[in-house]
């Protein structure tokens, strides 16, 4: 399993498509920095194909005042959770 890390939002960058294209059926996607905008209920449709394997970093949601808008289908993790995700993956790939 590969952990893909995306730091751009689908609202202004198409790199999320490259990340999704590179993901296998078991890979996970973690949204960080501006990437967490994609976790909002109004945006999360872009990530339908990885439902259940989509994560967002709590600290980045919190800093933007968006924790309340995060979609229920997204698994919110803190920095410790980020570390755990990294440990569970056999490698990580960054998309920016």
């Amino acid at each position: 399993m590969i952990l893909h890390i995306l730091n751009r939002p689908p609202s202004s960058s198409l790199v999320y498509r490259e990340a999704l294209a590179a993901m296998s059926d078991t890979d996970r996607l973690l949204l960080v920095e501006d990437g967490v905008l994609g976790a909002l209920t109004s945006q999360v449709r872009h990530f339908q194909q990885v439902e259940g394997r989509l994560f967002a970093l709590r600290e980045d949601l919190h800093a933007r005042g968006l924790e309340g808008q995060c979609d229920a289908s997204v698994q919110v993790v803190d920095v410790d959770g980020f570390v755990t995700l990294t440990e569970e993956a056999n490698k990580t790939v960054s998309w920016f």
Partner: protein, 125 residues
């Protein structure tokens, strides 16, 4: 090349940016060359705008940016000969394999995960 026989290796470098507009392409090629100089087996994947890095006829940029062409030619001297591009990305610019400077293999988007799985480390540029 069958889709079940895609390359494996130590390092996959994914190049997603076109020449000249930023330093991403050059940095990605440099990373590939460093790894190869240290004996790692390296594969390059040209994805989205990055496929333009393979286009024939590239020159130095108007602001004095070095051309990518000599660096691409040099890859073989570092034994980097496993080159892939995403077919749809090349087609989206109206280019075909005949427009490419180097022999690279086209793969469908659906083969990208397999390429990632076959390498120990992956760097995106």
């Amino acid at each position: 090349m069958s889709s079940h026989a895609l390359a494996t290796g130590d390092l996959l470098v994914i190049l997603r940016h076109a020449p000249h507009g930023s330093s991403w392409l050059r940095e990605g090629l440099d990373a590939a060359l460093v790894a190869a100089a240290f004996g790692q087996s390296v594969t390059l994947l040209f994805q989205s705008d990055g496929v333009l890095a393979l286009a024939r006829g590239q020159q130095a940029g108007p602001l004095g940016q070095k051309s990518t062409a000599p660096t691409l030619d040099m890859l073989t001297m570092y034994d980097i000969e496993s080159l892939f591009f995403v077919e749809d990305a090349l087609a989206s610019f109206g280019l075909t394999q005949q427009d490419l400077q180097l022999p690279a293999s086209g793969i469908p988007v659906t083969a990208i995960p397999e390429l990632l799985a076959g390498h120990k480390q992956i760097l995106t540029f």
